[in-house]
């Protein structure tokens, strides 16, 4: 086995072991150690993408000495490598971009713990991307849930942040119980935990019609659990308070990568475990389609009504998760590819927004209210430009990823035909219109002259923050301009990801 095939294992084990070390290092060393490890994982994912993309090959990596169907396995292909690169890159840039605020928000003796949490989150994300075993999925989903709770609650000792952390935990515990039950029932029904053997056992069961009720539960439970964890409307109640009260690094990671990690697991469950045909037969796609459409509209409506900028961005996340579920719910290859492109574009744009809004607020006397941001772009031009780029991407301006993914979604919906087409096009149009209203309103506000002059005592966001904003903007532009090749790569990756649609 060539050495590069060990990259998936290394990207899980390095952050996992590194987290233990980070928790005992002094704050400054822990921060540097975390950045170093995240750089390593990002580089490794890059290398893996370069190796797997040209021939669009996927490989299974057995763990220990027991081969399939008994042992544990990792599996990696172009799509996994792309997702790993996206997640580790966004985590790295979120940490760099929020580094200065991190040091203000979190007391220095707790920063090491925060770094350990970030690394645990990274290990969990990588494990979810690469693992081929259902129980491993459960364990790492739980690690991510707990790490996410720590990200939400790290800054607040009371108030809305802590209360939303409690609501987040309750919602996630419900989902965990459902996910565990689904996995145990799958194991009971098929006798396997590795994804491919489960899939081979499920197909004949479904065709013969035996165990119809347990099989429906096996299909519905993990999908429902992962939809709850990914904060699909109407399971989003904790989102606005949590994103608004977390430190910028935490908010960027929660919106950019945490929800997306669960979505990757959901893709695996649909494509590799249950198989698309069985999902379609059970009617799950239509349910996802409807909830996605509802989320798109309701998230945007609520975003329009917010008066605090961070809560507005958080509500917009609810809408954007709806787009992704709408694409998955179309149940066509084009729909899934568009959903994945939207996932990538949204991860970049939303973390850009959360990281750039903080310097804007700092330059306006720490005001959270929209009206207080008047002229903030003139006082903090780099952050203002980055915010504008992220906002325009979410609205869907050409040459930015939001535009391409919305067009691909619309094309996928047009190809589908029937009621789905009209429904999808209508909510796309409505949601985009609402997006334009609330995002452009904010962009115009931060560039219009007026407002309080800059307080000279407020330090500039610093070169690290500017570097991270620049790189994230470049990633957005790159994704938008190279959307054709990226879509091609996503399709090639989907073809070897599991059973194709």
């Amino acid at each position: 086995m060539p050495l590069w095939q060990s990259i998936p294992l290394a990207s899980i084990l390095l952050p996992l072991a590194g987290a233990a070390l980070a928790s005992v290092l002094p704050a400054r060393a822990a921060r540097r150690w975390t950045v170093l490890l995240l750089c390593l994982v990002t580089g490794g994912s890059c290398l893996l993408l370069v190796r797997t993309l040209p021939g669009s090959t996927a490989f299974n990596y057995p763990m220990g000495h027991f081969g399939a169907p008994w042992g544990n396995e990792l599996r990696a292909g172009p799509l996994e490598a792309m997702m790993a690169l996206l997640f580790s890159g966004i985590s790295l840039l979120s940490l760099l971009g929020g580094m200065r605020r991190l040091q203000e928000d979190i007391t220095s003796h707790r920063q090491s713990a925060f770094c350990a949490i970030l690394l645990l989150m990274q290990a969990a994300l990588m494990a979810q991307v690469y693992t081929n075993d259902l129980f491993t999925v459960y364990v790492f989903v739980e690690i991510m849930t707990i790490a996410g709770c720590a990200l939400i609650a790290s800054r607040s000792t009371r108030g809305r942040g802590l209360a939303s952390a409690a609501r987040y935990m309750v919602m996630n515990l419900i989902a965990s119980a459902l996910l565990l039950l689904g996995i145990i029932l799958t194991y009971d029904l098929t006798g396997h935990l590795l994804m491919e053997p489960v899939q081979k056992a499920i197909l004949p069961l479904q065709q013969s019609g035996a165990y119809a009720l347990p099989l429906t539960a096996v299909i519905a439970l993990p999908v429902l659990a992962l939809a709850i964890k990914a904060a699909l409307f109407p399971f989003h109640t904790w989102v606005p308070d949590a994103y608004a009260s977390a430190t910028p690094t935490g908010a960027a990671m929660l919106s950019g990568v945490v929800c997306k990690g669960y979505l990757v697991v959901l893709l695996k469950v649909i494509f590799r475990v249950i198989t698309p045909a069985v999902v379609l037969d059970a009617g799950i796609s239509d349910v996802l389609f409807c909830f996605g459409a509802a989320g798109m509209v309701m998230g945007s409506v609520h975003a329009l009504r917010q008066t605090e900028v961070k809560r507005m961005i958080a509500w917009s996340s609810v809408a954007q998760i709806g787009y992704i579920f709408l694409g998955l719910g179309l149940h066509t290859e084009a729909g899934a590819a568009a959903a994945l492109l939207h996932l990538m574009g949204h991860a970049a744009a939303k973390s850009l927004l959360f990281l750039s809004v903080d310097p804007l607020m700092a330059a306006s006397g720490r005001q959270g209210r929209l009206e207080g941001l008047r002229g903030a772009g003139l006082r903090a031009p780099v952050a203002g430009a980055a915010f504008t780029l992220g906002a325009l991407s979410l609205v869907g301006i050409p040459f930015l990823p939001g535009f391409v993914s919305k067009v691909s979604l619309a094309r996928a919906a047009l190809a589908y035909g029937g009621l789905h087409t009209w429904g999808a096009l209508a909510v796309l149009a409505l949601s985009t219109l609402l997006n334009v209203l609330y995002m452009l309103r904010t962009v115009l506000l931060i560039w219009s002259p007026g407002g309080s002059p800059r307080d000279p005592a407020v330090p500039s966001p610093g070169p690290l923050c500017h570097l991270s904003l620049g790189l994230l903007s470049a990633a957005c532009l790159g994704l938008g301009c190279l959307a054709g090749p990226v879509l091609e790569a996503i399709r090639a990756g989907l073809a070897v990801f599991g059973i194709p649609l």
Partner: protein, 121 residues
């Protein structure tokens, strides 16, 4: 007729009671209790499904016997792993509850959300 699946029935009852508490009760401590019961139900179910009467754990002491002498050890291993995960989640949830109770002197999640919403962030 004698029941042969008492364990599974108990597991379903535990899951039902626990999940109802977790979902519907507003008291945080009761929610945590509900979560523990839910997970216990699932683990009991898995342990019961993983045991075959008359067989033993595959620990070889007097030479390897026929395959039929042993049960598959994986379900027991999964139960142990799962219990560790639940303990960790319960601990985090208890810590959060502790901190919220110290700030708001109530365990009702709705009241806490109301009180917290009135505070400036």
């Amino acid at each position: 007729m004698s029941l042969t699946n008492l364990e599974e029935l108990t597991a379903i009852a535990l899951f039902g009671i626990g999940f109802t508490l977790l979902l519907l009760d507003r008291n945080l401590i009761k929610k945590i209790l509900g979560f523990s019961m839910t997970d216990s139900g699932i683990y009991l179910f898995l342990a019961a499904r993983g045991y075959v009467a008359g067989r033993t754990a595959p620990i070889v002491t007097e030479g390897v016997q026929a395959v039929e002498a042993y049960v598959n050890p994986i379900p027991a291993g999964l139960v142990l792993t799962g219990i560790v995960v639940s303990v960790a989640s319960t601990a985090v949830m208890l810590a959060l509850t502790f901190r919220l109770y110290r700030s708001y002197h109530t365990l009702n999640l709705d009241e806490i959300t109301n009180l917290a919403g009135k505070e400036a962030d």
